[in-house]
């Protein structure tokens, strides 16, 4: 079966030091896939390999069967939108920032944003509920608002694939869930395919259809949250004792940490 987004035998990394290898991932259209793993497992390296910041040592990345290498920068930006952990905060208003998502569609001699550009920006600002922030400057926003604004800018690129690198890593649980709910809504309502690096295992289990667990630069396990978030996998990769339970409302697996003190008590 041909995948919508496919990573074949990818290996990449930094000279001599760390690298990831033998990465094979196939993503069907419309799925919500999470990449998880401990610090230093290669999540960000993989992300940079996909986005082109790191050169691939070998392997291919294909979108709709087309090798990304053969797409121009603009074509890539029209198909794949990227949201990273940190958002630069130049002195730009929310509306101007969101409109920058139209840059991949502009000819180099086109000075002005068209009415279409404004309509598209307006549509997604309403969808993500940030329209009331339009005249605020990025510097005036909270961390949660910034992520919502960055996701809106990504949507304005009208991509087929949304890549997110730990977009909630600096946020509290309220804003984490707000971002995850939004991404889920986009995934379901717009049919947007989502590939997201996630730090929080429980959120990954709750929201994703598919999880990819990385360990030491290789894929440890991939599959449904139930297949990946087993205590054997987590204990092996994270090197810590946990138990897993099923969330009674959603039926998805959740991880509970076990402290050393509890372990000692059990041994007695």
């Amino acid at each position: 079966m041909a995948y919508f987004f496919e990573i074949e035998n990818l290996s990449c990394g930094y000279d001599d030091k760390f690298h990831i290898s033998n990465i094979n991932i196939g993503i069907t259209k419309g799925s919500f896939v999470g990449i998880i793993g401990p610090n230093g497992c290669g999540k960000t390296t993989l992300f940079k390999g996909i986005t082109g910041e790191l050169k691939l040592k070998s392997g291919k990345i294909k979108l709709n069967g087309i090798n990304l290498k053969h797409l121009s920068h603009k074509e890539k930006a029209r198909n794949i939108a990227i949201v990273t952990q940190d958002i630069e905060t130049p002195y730009i208003t929310v509306e101007d920032y969101v409109l920058m998502g139209r840059i991949p569609y502009h000819k180099s001699y086109q000075f002005f944003d068209t009415k279409d550009d404004y309509d598209i920006a307006e549509k997604y600002m309403n969808l993500t509920d940030i329209a009331h922030l339009r005249n605020k400057y990025l510097t005036q926003l909270s961390g949660g608002e910034r992520q919502m604004v960055a996701i809106t800018r990504a949507l304005v690129q009208e991509p087929e694939l949304l890549l997110l690198d730990e977009p909630t890593s600096h946020l509290d649980i309220t804003h984490q869930i707000q971002v995850f709910n939004l991404v889920q809504q986009l995934n379901e309502q717009l049919g947007l395919t989502v590939l997201m690096i996630i730090h929080e295992l429980n959120l990954a289990g709750e929201y994703c259809d598919q999880l990819i667990l990385l360990n030491k630069g290789e894929i440890q396990q991939k599959g449904s949250p139930e297949e990946v978030l087993t205590y054997e996998n987590i204990e092996k990769v994270y090197n810590t004792v946990v138990i897993t339970k099923i969330n009674p409302l959603s039926g998805k697996p959740s991880i509970f940490p076990v402290s050393q003190k509890t372990l000692n008590k059990m041994k007695e």
Partner: protein, 339 residues
């Protein structure tokens, strides 16, 4: 809303055009020989042969051409470099360019080549010195095909120090006449007798403005940083190289025509960013116009304040520019806008 933004930009452009016209009129009128504003058109069109005509045509107008083109070119070069390197302290001259250009000119003066071969060697040496330094800084900041922006500024500062040491070395070995010509050249002036050099300056600065407008989207996207600009579909490697070469050529031209005039390329784009916002679509044209009028204005001050003597224009740009900038910076609300 799109309309209101376009109207706002239109008004800014109109305001800066008026400012430019005003600075030109003042500069035409004021000087050792006062010419009243109402007489200027009559003298320029029918006054051939009169002393006023000569003063306007042969002295004041050429300086205005140079002021507008050098001020404009330095300002867009500064705006481009600040945009590409996202560092508010970057300007053509903090990248070590003035040092390199001055060293190269000093070398020509000290070796006597300018006397033997011809005076045209001085602007040529300035141009080559400026470009050589820029490319030296560039290649010293490249690692694995990527430019390390932070390194670039540091390398630029270090090159300035090395160049100024080299120049002191040259000056310590040469005659006081030579030292005087070196100092005179370094301080910069809009007084340029060579009309083809003036024409070259005007052409290059207008062409530079036009070319920079072809890179509006890369410049705007680069406000978010190089990686994010690439995510928005910008071929950043190519765009940054071309923009860098453009800024270098413009700076080299300015050095060749007017010597070293600091501060314009630093403060004008910064001020414009505060006034008009950081969108390059309005930032470039307003920097170009404001930079030109600022330099024309400074030149008027430089040649009238201690008339019949003339102050080096770099002194005026430095003092006015520095003071304005400190005042603006001390208002803490503006700091966020600049970074």
């Amino acid at each position: 809303m799109s309309i209101s933004k376009n109207i706002k930009w239109g008004l800014w452009i109109l305001a800066f055009l008026l400012l430019t016209i005003l600075s030109v009129l003042i500069s035409l009128s004021i000087g050792e020989l006062h010419i009243s504003l109402t007489d200027i058109p009559r003298i320029l069109f029918n006054g051939k042969g009169s002393m006023e005509y000569t003063v306007l045509r042969d002295i004041r107008l050429p300086r205005i051409y140079i002021g507008l083109s050098v001020g404009g070119a330095l300002s867009i070069a500064g705006a481009i470099l600040q945009g590409v390197y996202r560092n508010p302290l970057v300007e053509p001259y903090t990248m070590g360019i003035s040092g390199g250009a001055a060293l190269s000119v000093a070398f020509i003066i000290v070796t006597g080549l300018s006397l033997r071969v011809g005076a045209f060697l001085l602007p040529l040496a300035g141009f080559i010195g400026a470009l050589a330094t820029i490319f030296l800084v560039y290649f010293l900041s490249v690692r694995n095909g990527k430019v390390l922006t932070q390194n670039m500024v540091l390398v630029g500062v270090m090159i300035s120090f090395i160049a100024s040491s080299g120049m002191m070395l040259l000056m310590s070995y040469t005659t006081s006449d030579n030292i005087q010509s070196i100092v005179f050249w370094i301080m910069g002036s809009l007084d340029e007798p060579n009309s083809s050099l003036i024409a070259l300056g005007v052409t290059m600065s207008v062409a530079g403005l036009a070319v920079s407008y072809l890179f509006i989207h890369p410049l705007n996207a680069l406000r978010l940083g190089e990686d994010k600009a690439r995510h928005l579909g910008i071929n950043t490697d190519v765009a940054i190289k071309i923009l860098f070469i453009l800024a270098s050529l413009l700076t080299g031209m300015c050095v060749a025509v007017a010597g070293v005039i600091g501060f314009v390329g630093l403060i004008i784009p910064q001020l414009m960013r505060l006034l008009t916002g950081s969108d390059f679509r309005i930032l470039l044209i307003s920097s170009f116009l404001a930079g030109g009028s600022f330099l024309v204005f400074c030149d008027t001050v430089a040649r009238t304040i201690i008339a019949p003597n003339e102050l080096p224009i770099g002194v005026i740009t430095g003092i006015i520019g520095g003071l304005v900038f400190i005042v603006m910076l001390s208002r803490s609300s503006t700091k966020a806008k600049l970074s």
